[in-house]
Amino acid sequence: MKKTAILHGMKAILPLCVGNIPFSFIVGALSIGAGMSVWQSTAWSTIVIAGSAQMLALNMLQTGASIGIIVLTTFIINLRHVLYSASMADSMRHYSFFRKCMMSYALTDEVYAVTVKPMQENKADKWCFYLSAMLTFWFVWVLANFFGALLGSALPNIEKYGLDFAMVAAFIAIVIPQVKSRACIIAAIVASISGILLVILPYSLGIVVASLLGVIAGYAVDRADEKGASSLSLKGETV
């Protein structure tokens, strides 16, 4: 029974692992340019396991940001995982403290996407299923990062080939599918313009402040939309 759950977990996450290989590979390759050794890069990916945040951090390292600002930016970009944590809380409630720590450690976008439904079902081996999906993802992520780091150290001047643009391209590929509603588009535009104007802020704080301004703009659009919708429905009732 346990064996089936483990295999099931691996099978469920495998397509997402494959899809993530280029991203992880790029993180590995660029981390060398940002001053890491191959083993540092591999350890970093193993311990941090947060792709977008790692890519942002590499970017910030090159502009000379301090550790404090990088950690703050990591916090902001990973805030979305609070949503995953909240949605998983109920289905993980009966596990021990230690198991909860383990299960949350690598709760990435991909692991969440694959396990959220099965975890809500009442199956006996779902702990094995979850752990196998998470560890498979983790392993592939680190492995691809390692090979990327090897390439990065073989090609020391990776920026010269325009490969640092791979990071920007990867960000575009991640963000475009998420910008669906009007509110999201406005939030993104406000954040971009603020980001450009706020490069004058010290300590690379510009991105953090730009993000906050974008979130506030999105929130304002949400509020306006809700007001519009409720006054519309009121009119509908009176007519």
Partner: protein, 106 residues
Amino acid sequence: MSNTFFLMLTLGMAAVTFLIRFSFIGLGSRIEMSPRLKKTLRFVPVTVLPAIIAVQILNVDASMEFSLRNPKVIAALICTLVSFRFGLIWVVISGVASLMLLNHIM
């Protein structure tokens, strides 16, 4: 990178990431997040990433100088178009390839 700097960076990033992921799972289902907060949190990734992209492709620095006649802007537009239809690997390949080409001809 020195090992001390590396350790501090890694542990710092890992700690905040873990705390966020553990937050509600650790608390159990005792605390509910307000729907308003849930809805607003969806803006976080769509604001951080575009801001980074904009600053990167315009090569803005603290003196606020940038040029729109910049091959990165065009390459980013190509990436955006490709991302409507194709996955990450194709976006990256087309972006890097078009930037190399543009650098060559511009």
